[in-house]
Symmetry: C2
Subunit: 336 residues, 2 copies
């Protein structure tokens, strides 16, 4: 094997996600939103992927039409039902040539520096071609408790490629601070590179029922439902001895919360991030966004205010992860 | 003259008003809103007025059709152009019989206790029939700086009817506290009772150009524009020697701000006032109102959050009088 193996981009575009409610919702999930820039996140992801060729896009039946309309170049792999990223990646691996390197990427993240991403993929490719399951690890700049962390081991496998010592699921605050201070620990961004055949073999070893369900789905879509819903991280990366990590700094954000979008900016002189038909008057540190009615924040600090034609959310900036409580409250109200 | 003189209700329904933006706006002024109860404020005012007979409703050309649709019983007096309440009342006085007692009332206030209002009118009627220009004065329960105040004099002219010592325009905080503590001072609610002929005579004496413009408007509507835009309070009540005041407690509110609407309730156990498709979760002391998209306040305190299909306002409760800044901000944004 060599680093010249062909790379096949695999874009995962499933899942609903409510963390950006009311902007994201069942009929308009996050990949279809233009959260950072003019284009949808899915379109931006496909543009990055185009460097390596036509992408395989794994998506649900409910989103297939929208994905096809947005990405005319995509090869669609439709999940019979949602069963997590392990089963989704298995479907992609079965659709690819076993010797292709699958470059797996979520469809709803931001990568500001695409050249840095390409360089990291180039660093990881020889290890992947040699049988490693490579994860790209984001160099952390804060003690984030919302992500999984990857600890590297020594010695390096090549320039900028390390064995994985262990995966740490979402740590507590103190642990996250220790990981950040120690160095050699990276955020797991759900970006992977491995030979399709190696990925399937690892899944066969650690969760054969997932691989079996994905294979059976070709003849009988209903058989896919037998796969347990697990992430690729949990099902494979945390268990395999072949894991490697390529650290990368590339202006990455998972845009996973209103807090993350506020951090991204652009900020006005009072630290507000304002977009759509909206204004922040005598206000500081607010995210004010409208895709519907005109919104004015007047004399308020550190609030997230997001409006669509259907719904408006007002929540303190540090508490935007509580958005599910807002959805529950409206649901309860409607059932009265 | 006697207290049996016929009373003619006069409802003033002009003006746009932005203090309840975004709920009120040019095309949907405050009298047409159902702010306290199921009916519009105009409809509620007309229902109170019905006790005395068919009302004269003075309104602008732009609102005449809407008023006619809402109040089929009304006799409409259409202002050629807006010129303040002095000119509007002059038009009504000219349309009435000189011996009728005009009971002038704004169309956008709340009066919870209609019986108390009727009793106050009955107390004031003999004085009005005898030539007094009677103002109904709200017994104050707070040192309100947003209203004009009326000081009574002694001895009474009859039971519960006093001469007016003076009018005080919107006082400062210290002065308002002194007026409240002193007693014998009442809020000017814009509610008046006087003989039509006496009102016109007083206007002829103190502002003859207004009376003249109103008379000329019958033949030439354009002549009305010559009237200076003054309130009845300023033009007549503050100048006449014939002013009297009838103190009254009747659950009055001018609903003049979001603060006033919050005070009115009904409050939930955390002091929130929630109406429309809206919810307050883990929030205290908020006004959350929607006539458009579903609104959720989550983890916030003492905010006014008001949404329509067109606009959303978020402002701290004590600052809702700053609403014009919000309108200006949107206007500036649209002109960019």
């Amino acid at each position: 094997m060599s680093g010249d193996a062909r790379i096949r981009p695999v874009i995962l575009s499933g899942g609903a996600g409510t963390r950006l409610w009311p902007l994201s919702r069942l009929g308009r999930p996050k990949p279809f939103l233009a959260l950072a820039g003019e284009q949808s996140l899915l379109r931006q992801t496909a543009d990055r992927a185009a460097h390596w060729g036509r992408p395989l896009v794994v998506t649900g039946a409910d989103q297939a039409e929208a994905v096809a309309a947005e990405l005319r170049e995509a090869l669609l792999v439709v999940e019979p039902c949602p069963r997590g990223t392990a089963a989704a990646i298995a479907l992609a691996a079965l659709a690819a040539d076993p010797d292709e390197l699958l470059l797996v990427m979520p469809s709803d993240h931001r990568i500001a520096d695409a050249a840095a991403f390409r360089a990291a993929v180039a660093r990881g490719a020889p290890a992947a071609a040699a049988g490693r399951l490579v994860a790209f690890g984001i160099v952390p700049d804060r003690p984030e408790t919302g992500y999984g962390w990857i600890a590297r081991s020594e010695p390096p496998l090549g320039e900028g490629v390390y064995p994985v010592a262990r995966f740490t699921e979402k740590p507590g605050r103190a642990e996250a601070e220790a990981l950040l201070a120690a160095g050699g620990h990276y955020w797991n961004a759900g970006l992977f590179l491995f030979r399709a055949g190696d990925g399937l073999a690892a899944l066969d070893r650690h969760h054969p029922e997932i691989a079996a369900a994905a294979r059976a789905a070709a003849a009988d879509p209903a058989a896919f439902a037998a796969a347990p819903a697990l992430s690729w991280d949990r099902a494979v990366m945390e268990r395999t001895q072949a894991a490697a990590v390529v650290p990368v700094e590339m202006g990455w954000s998972d845009l996973g919360s209103w807090e993350a979008l506020h951090a991204l900016g652009p900020h006005d002189s009072a630290g507000n991030v304002v977009s759509g038909e909206a204004a922040a008057v005598d206000s500081r540190g607010c995210l004010v966004r409208s895709d519907g009615p005109a919104v004015v924040a007047l004399g308020v600090d550190d609030l997230v205010i997001v409006a669509t034609e259907r719904a408006v959310l007002v929540v303190p900036r540090g508490q935007s992860q509580r958005v599910s409580e807002a959805i529950d409250a409206l649901e309860a109200r409607r059932q009265k």
